[in-house]
Symmetry: C2
Subunit: 261 residues, 2 copies
């Protein structure tokens, strides 16, 4: 393990920049995974990180010590920081002061959709995007396509909310959803509170693409028009709409139910 003790160390400065700014993460093509759960998930699903960063105090935590040992056995770089230097790197209050620096996965976008997928059109809230990724991963969906206006998937809040689902998914960002829908090999179901076709009337046993929109405005009109069907989750009661992440979960698990999970 190396030790960094100066705030002027270039690697420490890189970490600080990646911790504070999604722009820096996008530009560098690298991201930080914060905390034991995300780091354990990465190790289990993707192997060694580019770099493991740990505060001196955190090494006394047996879970952290085990992760660090695993990283060393995989020949990953490990760097220790004084607790005071680590503090500004983490957004997790009372966190354990463990980070992985990883190359942001950049899977090659397929020409067309052939497996059940999620399309996010301008979903803004990082907590919603993270919850949708988590539900997708739990429902066995493997591909997620995001428009340019959707929250950056590799930001700390999205990563935290998705609880490691990122690492079982192929996530494509800045996607032209209109073109993707036009050449889709599977049905595209646009979720809308105003649609007439009810979710439970749609045969979901074949792969489908779920198109979900902005928290306030919903799916953009031009995308709505290109979808195979517009679909509503039937409601009872005076509340007329669901949170987009709640709606996503209802859809993904209705598909799983129909497929006889």
């Amino acid at each position: 393990m190396k030790s960094v003790t100066s705030r002027d160390n270039p690697f420490y400065k890189e970490l600080k920049s990646l911790a504070a700014s999604s722009q820096a993460r996008r530009k560098a093509g690298r991201t930080l995974l914060d905390g034991v759960h995300l780091c354990q998930s990465w190790l289990a699903l993707r192997g060694a990180p580019a770099h493991c960063v740990v505060s001196e105090g955190a090494l006394r935590n047996p879970e952290v010590a085990e992760i660090v040992a695993r990283c060393e056995s995989l020949h990953a770089h490990v760097t220790g920081l004084p607790d005071a230097l680590f503090g500004v790197l983490s957004q997790v209050e009372h966190g354990v002061n463990l980070l992985f620096l990883v190359e942001t996965p950049a899977p090659r976008q397929p020409q067309s959709m052939t497996v059940s997928s999620v399309l996010l059109d301008g979903v803004q809230d990082p907590g919603n995007v993270g919850s949708i990724l988590r539900s997708a991963g739990a429902a066995g969906i493997t591909q997620v396509f995001c428009s340019a206006g959707t929250a950056f998937c590799w930001s700390p809040k999205v990563l935290r909310a998705a609880m490691g689902a990122h690492f079982v998914l192929e996530i494509f960002e800045n996607v032209e959803l209109g073109a993707l829908i036009d050449r889709s090999g599977i049905a595209v179901l646009a979720m809308s509170g105003h649609a007439r076709r009810k979710l439970y009337e749609v045969d979901l046993r074949a792969p489908v693409a779920w198109l979900l929109g902005h928290e306030g405005q919903g799916v953009a009109d031009d995308l709505m028009g290109r979808a195979t069907h517009q679909v509503v989750i039937p409601h009872a009661g005076q509340v007329e709409s669901l949170n987009v992440a709640a709606a996503a979960a209802v859809c993904f698990f209705e598909q799983l139910r129909q497929r006889g999970a």
Copy 2:
């Protein structure tokens, strides 16, 4: 409309205190509703607020002007504030500077559960609690019982996430869930990732109580043991658990589906 221009005005100080502190809201039995949507919902579902508070600039917004006029026609107090004074009262960035002060609804807790209900055992995140309330309201559920460790339902974040669902629900806080479960007139279904009984195997056409637990630890063991059934949402894929609000939505809408909505 009255005008308040001094930071030392007692009513303004009360507003500041209610805006900043859940403790103050609990103690006063009063809460603030922030923004056009919540205020419109309150007017539609509960009638006049105790007090309508608006910034001078916001009166130029036609939606706000209409709400203010409606409050005046209902003989509610209306107070105007300079924009600078209003600023600290709202947690909504780029909001419209409209607040209702209302008496926090305090419905009398029924002796036992007889209609479909939600039981929240230590759900911590205000966004999750709000999303659960919203989904419950949309699914036609009318009663929500919260343990003392659950996020305060009348906090700004929970109110914002629930989008007015509070006003169609009866919300009971600081409830001894164990005693409530023991005298329940309906089946209590404890959601657990470790249960064997699958959600889709349970007959949900009769009223049930959904018991949902803490984001990390789930439902407490003693409550789990008192429930009628422990139930799992079947998964596919490597992600093993859902966000609690996503799980709640799946449950509530599976019940609605079985009831033939």
